[in-house]
C-alpha cells in the first residue's frame, strides 16, 4: 500500500477545499511523493482538489442506483430458484432436481457481480449486522448440516432429537451455538443440499434424488432446503432495501458524502480484485491444489464465480456504460490511468475467457499446465488491477487498502 493518511475532515467541505488549496500553494513543497510519510496528508489532498465535486456526486448516485438494481436482480434470481425448489420438493424427480440445480446456477450469476459491493462495511458486510456470512459463508460445514461420506448420521438434518423442528429461526440460532453465524446457511448450503458432496474426480456432486424420497429424513432435508432458501431471500431483500432509491437508509447515508462514497466504491473493487478474488479464491487453491478448495465445490461452478466477480468489478468501474462512471471520474484527473485500468480489466476478462475446464481441474498438474498458467495469469492481472485502482484512488484523494 502507498503511504497515504486518511484526509481529515474536520471543517465544512467548501472551507476544506479552500484551505487545502492554500496549504498546497502556500507551504507545499511536498511534490506528491507518496512514500514520504511526513507529507502525505497534504499530497493526497492537493490532488483531490482537482476532483469535481459535482461529478463525484453524479458518479456516487449512479453507483447507488446500480447497486440497488443488482441486488434486486439477485433477489429475483433467488425467488425464481425458490419456485424451482418448491416444485422439486413437491415432486422430487431427477428432472425437477436438475431444474432446481439450474435455477441455483442462474441465480448465482446474478449474485456474483454484487460482491463488488462488499469490503467497506456497507449493508452486506458491516461487522455488526451485515448478513454476508449468512448468505455466502464458505467453507460450508457439511457435516453440521447433513450426512457425509464416512458419517451417515451427521448433521442437524439427521439429529431428530436435538432439532425436533427445522425452521429458519432454528437454523440461525444453531449457527450461533457453534460459533460464527455462517456455517450452515446461504448459497453453498443450498448448493450442498442440491448436489451433495463432490466425490468425483472430474464432475460435480451427485446427490441422489432418493435423499428427498426414500431417506428417513427426506422430509426434514426438504424443509431445511426450503427454509434456507427463504432465509437467503429475506437476507438479500434486507440488503437491497438499504439501497432503495425511495427509502434506503444506507443509500441516504452513502450519498450524503459523495467524496467518501467514491472511496468506498474503490475500496470495494480494489479489495475484491486483489484481495478476495486473486488471493482468497484463486491463489489459495492454486497453491494448495486441494481439489475441493473452491467456492462452489459441490456444483463445480467456481469458474463462473470468478467470471461473475470480475464482471462485478467491471460493472462498478464502467457503471454499465453510463456517463457518470468511476472511469469518467478517474479520466477527469488522469486519462492515462483510466485507460490503463480499462486495459487491465480487458486483460482479466480475456484470460478468464480462455478457461476450458472446471476450476478443480485447472489447479492440478505442474506449473506449466495450461490451467495453472491461466489461473496464475488471472491472479497477476487481478493484482495489477487492484494496484491500479489503489493508485487511481490516490489520484482522487483517497487512501484505500486492498487488504481483506
Amino acid at each position: 500500500m502507498t503511504a497515504q493518511r486518511r484526509p481529515r475532515r474536520l471543517l465544512g467541505g467548501a472551507l476544506i477545499v479552500a484551505l487545502l488549496l492554500g496549504v498546497a500553494a502556500g507551504c507545499g513543497d511536498d511534490g506528491g511523493d507518496a512514500d514520504d510519510a511526513s507529507d502525505t496528508t497534504e499530497a493526497s489532498e492537493e490532488m483531490s482538489a482537482d476532483v469535481d465535486p459535482a461529478l463525484e456526486e453524479a458518479v456516487a448516485t449512479t453507483y447507488a442506483d446500480l447497486v440497488f438494481d443488482s441486488y434486486d436482480d439477485a433477489v429475483s434470481g433467488a425467488v425464481d430458484m425458490q419456485t424451482a425448489i418448491d416444485t422439486f420438493v413437491a415432486a422430487p424427480t431427477d428432472e425437477s432436481l436438475d431444474a432446481a440445480r439450474q435455477a441455483w446456477l442462474d441465480a448465482r450469476d446474478l449474485y456474483g457481480p454484487t460482491e463488488a459491493f462488499r469490503f467497506y462495511d456497507g449493508p452486506i458486510d458491516n461487522p455488526d449486522d451485515g448478513p454476508e456470512g449468512q448468505i455466502n459463508a464458505w467453507p460450508m460445514d457439511e457435516a453440521y448440516v447433513d450426512y457425509v461420506v464416512d458419517d451417515p448420521e451427521a448433521g442437524i438434518i439427521n439429529d431428530v432429537e436435538g432439532y425436533p423442528e427445522i425452521t429458519a429461526d432454528v437454523l440461525v440460532s444453531a449457527n450461533e451455538e457453534g460459533g460464527e453465524t455462517n456455517i450452515s446457511t446461504g448459497w453453498h448450503a443450498i448448493e450442498f443440499l442440491l448436489w451433495g458432496q463432490d466425490q468425483s474426480e472430474d464432475g460435480p456432486g451427485d446427490r441422489p434424488v432418493t435423499d428427498y424420497t426414500d431417506s428417513p429424513t427426506a422430509e426434514r432435508r426438504a424443509t431445511y432446503l426450503q427454509e434456507l432458501t427463504t432465509l437467503l431471500i429475506s437476507d438479500l431483500e434486507s440488503v437491497r432495501d438499504e439501497w432503495d432509491p425511495e427509502s434506503g437508509a444506507y443509500r441516504e447515508d452513502f450519498l450524503s458524502d459523495p467524496h467518501e462514497a467514491i472511496s468506498k466504491m474503490m475500496r470495494g473493487i480494489g479489495a475484491l480484485s486483489s484481495g478476495e478474488l486473486a488471493g482468497e479464491r484463486i491463489a489459495v487453491a492454486w497453491e494448495t491444489k486441494d481439489q475441493e478448495d473452491e467456492h462452489s465445490c459441490f456444483s463445480d461452478n467456481t469458474d463462473a464465480d470468478v467470471r461473475n466477480n470480475a464482471a462485478g468489478i467491471e460493472l462498478v468501474y464502467l457503471a454499465g456504460g453510463a456517463e457518470d462512471s468511476l472511469s469518467a471520474l478517474v479520466a477527469s484527473v488522469s486519462p492515462e490511468l483510466d485507460q490503463q485500468i480499462r486495459d487491465q480489466l480487458d486483460e482479466t476478462t480475456a484470460i478468464i475467457e480462455t478457461y476450458d475446464a472446471p476450476f478443480d481441474q485447472m489447479i492440478l498438474g505442474d506449473d506449466e499446465a495450461p490451467g495453472r498458467v491461466a489461473l496464475i495469469d488471472t491472479v497477476e492481472s487481478l493484482q495489477a488491477q487492484g494496484d491500479l485502482i489503489a493508485l487511481a484512488a490516490t489520484e482522487l484523494g483517497h487512501e484505500i487498502s486492498l487488504a481483506i
Binding site: 500500500m1 503511504a3 497515504q4 493518511r5 486518511r6 472551507l15 479552500a18 484551505l19 492554500g22 496549504v23 502556500g26 507551504c27 510519510a37 511526513s38 502525505t40 462495511d121 461487522p127 459463508a137 464458505w138 467453507p139 460450508m140 460445514d141 457439511e142 457435516a143 453440521y144 457425509v148 461420506v149 464416512d150 458419517d151 451427521a154 448433521g155 439429529d159 450461533e176 457453534g178 460459533g179 460464527e180 455462517n182 456455517i183 458432496q197 463432490d198 456432486g205 484481495g275 486473486a278 488471493g279 482468497e280 491463489a283 489459495v284 492454486w286 497453491e287 494448495t288 486441494d290 475441493e292 478448495d293 465445490c297 459441490f298 491472479v379 487512501e399 487498502s401 487488504a403 481483506i404
Partner: protein, 456 residues
C-alpha cells in the same frame, strides 16, 4: 482566507520546528521499513511494504487460512476440516478480528470469543500439569455430538482509589470460575489463567530481535537495584527441538511465531499441526476421542508455513501525532516514570528473508522479558519458567489504534482495563513505583502520558 492560510502554514512550521529538536522524523516508523501509514479499521491487517510475486501470494494464502472457518470433519474441503472436537473458535480471525485484539465477553450470552482460560493442577510431586479431565485449556465450544467442556463465568469486584490531586478512579477486578462443567466438578485446586487474544502484527520483527539483545537486559536478581528484574522464559522450539528463548504469548512461553501459531491452532481451534501432538481429548472425554479426524495433521506444512508467513509479514502501523506538544511531553514522562524500563522503546532486528523485516530499527516498547506484576494481576498459574505473578512485557506499538480497529479499549492480559488509564493503574509489582509516580502526576501530565500512548 488569509488568516486560514496563515494558520495552515504555522501548523506546518511548528511540526518542522519540533522535529529538528527531537529524534529524526522517522519516529513515526515504529516498524522501520515494515511500517504502513494506515490509521483506519484496516490498520492492523496490512502486508509489509514490498511483498511481490510468491511472497504476495504466500501472504494471501496465509490470510485465507487465518480468516476462514475450519469445519467439522469429514468434509469435501479436505484441507479445511478437522474443527475441534472441542474448540474455542472456528478461525484465527474469530478472536483476532482484522488481526486485532479481542475483548472479554460481557456476559454468558455474548458471542465474543476472544478470552480463554488455561488450566493446570499441581500433581503429587508439586509439578504443574494439565488438569487430568479438562486438559490445559477450557474449550467452551464443541462440534455436533461432542460435549462442551464448560463455560466461563466472570465476576467483578470494584477497586477504587484516587490520584494525588483527589480525582477518584475505579477499576473492575475480574475473578474467573468454570460453570456447566460437563465432566464433573473441576475442583478447587485448579489453577486458572485467563488470556485475551492480542493483536497480531509486528511479530515477525519481534522474532528477529537477536536473543542475546533480549537476554542482555535480563536482571533476574535485580543486581542493579532499580526494582525491575526481568527474566527470560526458556522453552523449546518445536521445529528444531532445541532450547530457545520464549518471546510470544502472555508469559513468553512460545519461542517462535510458528510455534505460537501451531499451539493456537491446536489449543484454540482443535486443528492438529505437524508440530503438535494429538487432539485435546483427555481420556475422560470419550466422544471427543471418538470424533472423526480431519487428517494427520489437519493443517499441513504448506498451510502452516503460509499462515506463519502471513503473521510475520503483517505490518506495524505508523505513529500519529508525533511532534505534538502533549504527545512529546508524554513520551518524556513515559521515560521519567520508568515505564521504559520494561517497555523498552527501541530494538534492532537481525537479518531476515523478507526485506522489510531485515535489520530494522524498530520501536516496539517491549523487552520481551518476564516481570512480576504484583498480586493484582497474578493468575497464580506458573507457565514454563514464568511464575504465577509474572507476565511478559507486551509491545505497545499500535495500542492507540485498538479502538479504531477492534471497536473497544480493553487492555491487559484478560482485557480487564477499560481504557489506557486503567491499564496504567493495573500495573503493580515491579511497576509499582512507576504506578505510584503516575498517581502523583497532575491531571495535565496524566493526560499527556495517555496522549503519548494513544499516538503509538
Amino acid at each position: 482566507m488569509g488568516a486560514l492560510l496563515l494558520v495552515a502554514c504555522n501548523d506546518a512550521g511548528d511540526e518542522e520546528a519540533s522535529t529538528t529538536t527531537a529524534p529524526p522524523a522517522d519516529r513515526t516508523l515504529s516498524g522501520g521499513a515494515a511500517t504502513v501509514h494506515v490509521d483506519g479499521a484496516g490498520a492492523f491487517e496490512q502486508p509489509v511494504p514490498g511483498l511481490e510475486g510468491e511472497d504476495r501470494r504466500a501472504f494471501a494464502v496465509g490470510n485465507n487460512f487465518f480468516n476462514d472457518n475450519w469445519v467439522t470433519a469429514p468434509a469435501s474441503t479436505e484441507g479445511r476440516d478437522g474443527l475441534g472436537p472441542t474448540f474455542n473458535a472456528q478461525s484465527c480471525s474469530s478472536c483476532h478480528f482484522r488481526d486485532g485484539r479481542a475483548q472479554p465477553p460481557e456476559g454468558p450470552d455474548d458471542p465474543e470469543r476472544g478470552l480463554l482460560l488455561r488450566l493446570s493442577v499441581l500433581d503429587a510431586a508439586g509439578d504443574v500439569v494439565p488438569h487430568p479431565v479438562y486438559g490445559d485449556q477450557l474449550q467452551d465450544r464443541a462440534i455436533e455430538g461432542v460435549p462442551v467442556e464448560g463455560a466461563i463465568r466472570i465476576e467483578h469486584t470494584e477497586v477504587t482509589g484516587e490520584y494525588a490531586d483527589g480525582t477518584p478512579w475505579s477499576l473492575l477486578e475480574p475473578s474467573y470460575s468454570i460453570v456447566d462443567a460437563a465432566f464433573g466438578p473441576i475442583g478447587d485446586d485448579v489453577l486458572i489463567s485467563p488470556r485475551i487474544a492480542p493483536f497480531v502484527f509486528g511479530v515477525g520483527l519481534l522474532e528477529g530481535i537477536p536473543a542475546d539483545d533480549i537476554t542482555a537486559r535480563a536482571d533476574p536478581d535485580d543486581a542493579n537495584g532499580d526494582g525491575i528484574s526481568g527474566r527470560a522464559n526458556m522453552t523449546i522450539d518445536p521445529r528444531t527441538g532445541d532450547d530457545a528463548l520464549g518471546r510470544f504469548g502472555w508469559k513468553a512461553q512460545m519461542a517462535t511465531v510458528e510455534a505460537q501459531g501451531a499451539s493456537a491452532f491446536l489449543g484454540d481451534i482443535g486443528i492438529t499441526t505437524p508440530l503438535s501432538g494429538p487432539e485435546n481429548c483427555p481420556p475422560a472425554q470419550v466422544d471427543c476421542m471418538a470424533a472423526p479426524s480431519g487428517g494427520d495433521p489437519e493443517i499441513d506444512e504448506l498451510k502452516l508455513d503460509r499462515v506463519t508467513f502471513y503473521t510475520r509479514t503483517l505490518a506495524v502501523p505508523a505513529r500519529r501525532a508525533v511532534g505534538e506538544t502533549d504527545t512529546d511531553r508524554g513520551e518524556v514522562l513515559f521515560a521519567d516514570l520508568g515505564c521504559a524500563g520494561c517497555h523498552v522503546p527501541e530494538a534492532t532486528t537481525g537479518p531476515a528473508d523478507v526485506p522489510a523485516l531485515d535489520r530494522q530499527r524498530i520501536t516496539p516498547y517491549t523487552d520481551l522479558l518476564l516481570h512480576d506484576m504484583g498480586e493484582g494481576l497474578a493468575d497464580g498459574r506458573p507457565d514454563g519458567l514464568a511464575t504465577g505473578s509474572e507476565w511478559r512485557t507486551p509491545p505497545l506499538w499500535g495500542i492507540g489504534l485498538v479502538e479504531t480497529v477492534s471497536g473497544h479499549t480493553r487492555y491487559m492480559h484478560d482485557g480487564r482495563a477499560r481504557d489506557l488509564e486503567e491499564a496504567v493503574l493495573w500495573h503493580g509489582g515491579e511497576a509499582e513505583a512507576a504506578r505510584r509516580d503516575y498517581i502523583d502526576l497532575s491531571a495535565d501530565d496524566r493526560q499527556a502520558l495517555l496522549a503519548f500512548l494513544g499516538s503509538l
